[in-house]
Point group: C2
Chain length 379, copies 2
Amino acid sequence: MPTEIPADSVGLVSPQIAHFAEPLVLACGRTLADYQLIYETYGELNAARSNAVLICHALSGHHHAAGYHSMDDRKPGWWDSCIGPGKAIDTNRFFVVSLNNLGGCNGSTGPSSLNPQTNKPYGADFPVVTVEDWVNSQARLADVLGIEQWAAVVGGSLGGMQALQWSISYPERIRHCVAIASAPKLSAQNIAFNEVARQAILSDPEFHGGHFQEQGVIPRRGLMLARMVGHITYLSDDAMGTKFGRGLKSEKLNYDFNSVEFQVESYLRYQGEEFSSRFDANTYLLMTKALDYFDPAAAHEDDLAATLAAAQADFCVISFTTDWRFSPERSQEIVNALMAARKNVSYLEIDAPQGHDAFLIPIPRYLQAFRGYMNRIAV
Amino acid sequence: MPTEIPADSVGLVSPQIAHFAEPLVLACGRTLADYQLIYETYGELNAARSNAVLICHALSGHHHAAGYHSMDDRKPGWWDSCIGPGKAIDTNRFFVVSLNNLGGCNGSTGPSSLNPQTNKPYGADFPVVTVEDWVNSQARLADVLGIEQWAAVVGGSLGGMQALQWSISYPERIRHCVAIASAPKLSAQNIAFNEVARQAILSDPEFHGGHFQEQGVIPRRGLMLARMVGHITYLSDDAMGTKFGRGLKSEKLNYDFNSVEFQVESYLRYQGEEFSSRFDANTYLLMTKALDYFDPAAAHEDDLAATLAAAQADFCVISFTTDWRFSPERSQEIVNALMAARKNVSYLEIDAPQGHDAFLIPIPRYLQAFRGYMNRIAV
């Protein structure tokens, strides 16, 4: 917990909730009659309403991106290193909006919400949502907040995909698109890792076809395994090597299946167990599906340049050298398509050993370049 | 099934069994009082007994490396592309011995064997075996077969680790060591993937603490997940992309959790399910542990050159460009240590898109180079 709020923090913040009664038609063909989105804002909307920045979260993210909910919080929001007074997304200049996506498990309508038609939790009956659906729901939130056009839409990983989709779905409503550690679509290997995570959850006997909440249980083992395999893909081989190497948990080897021999095993188990107690299994499935389905060029004969032709935004694309989940080559696919479509694009490849997770880490060169781009945005 | 046996096949072969009544003391401190090894041989041992080649298998391998057990076999042994008359390991020149390792599930004593002390299957009570233990048990098999010195010990992946260990444990009994797609020890990331596989098995309710056989069940889900995650690491990102890309299983998307949307999902599930019906869960755990523990340099203050100083063999080290499980850099660690220790070493890095699995695939340049090295071995 902070004994005092740091000077470059947005300080104490409170989430708000927006209700939407107008039905939302989803890509899967189903309709959400009624839903809510939980969100936070940092900074002040200017009189011209021209300084709003939307933050889109990744697989396990949520609305609480910066600041503290109380003085008892152990940690600030998940992107506090990048959002605050004088930071890359400078709250002295920008009005920042950060939401939990539809299908999430942190306060927006999702699988653990009550289905008004049955008065039971949706569970696995919650419709599959896509990046396009999220962007449509975010546009409605912008309407509620009186934001006609975002100064920027910003996100890392799956969040970067939402930023890209904004430039395609609502070209006139976004001036800058910042896509960090992202990709224009998943590779077969990316899908394969997601599929392992899904099978771990689906095959857990406590999953109960997605209606575990009604049974009063949690598919803890499945979620733990899903997170463990995901976590390996977030870190680089080098980062894991530097952090753990072959370090042992105790002084000697135990030669059995139940002991933890290596520190990396203990770290992974802890990450998996911690995650399984705080995240919803159906939301995890939904998020991996949204990743798998994202492929905006599919509707344009796989021509990403043609897909982005109508975009009016300027683009900033950032990648990290050791990211093997979405490698620099995947960001370059976006950059090449943008150049072919004659868009303004800045590309930064940051030399960083941390792998995919680098986008969450305060790496000086990354923060400096990111701040440089954001500071040049006119508001 | 073969309608006729190909001319370059070793033909119809039959496994044999060797019983060992002399107790084997294991690295874990426990002792196996009595055990058997199942093995096959191809070619003829010459009068000087100087032409014997030992094949060491990888994680899910076994003794049946070449030829057919019957005319009804759908496929030949797992390394048939490399073993046979005129092939890389030429059975016109060499007497080839291939065994199933201790702890295996294909006929050698392992977790599914009866524990003579309880008259029940060992299950999880089977002792943890290491690469060193395997090499010791293989040396006893050599004694039984009257082979004082191997012309070569050859293996891929975990098999390559056994070949390396032979050169360290029995320097006078091996003239050539061929280590393909291998590594001198696992990285933290390698261990992490193994740990996910183990947790998938250990947390399967049907595992029953490793005594599932007595319960008449199989931890099928755990084994399936373990194989799925393993399989991703055997293929390169490129190979998966070329083989499946984002190809769909049916013509349109289903937008649910139970349908198979992408071909790569269907492939992985098939691989996992097929494996879970033929492999023993306790053996899988043992094999991953043997991989984790392998680290011959640990006893020499992490100095691999010092570890290999007493070796008398010549070495052939082969790696594959897109192998990210044991990348070329891992093979180069072995090569650099061997050069520092002033050993004779040939190193080949084969340009191949198939990833780690390349060592099992008949890639022309690989076969040619491998055959070239083997043909120069005097017998």
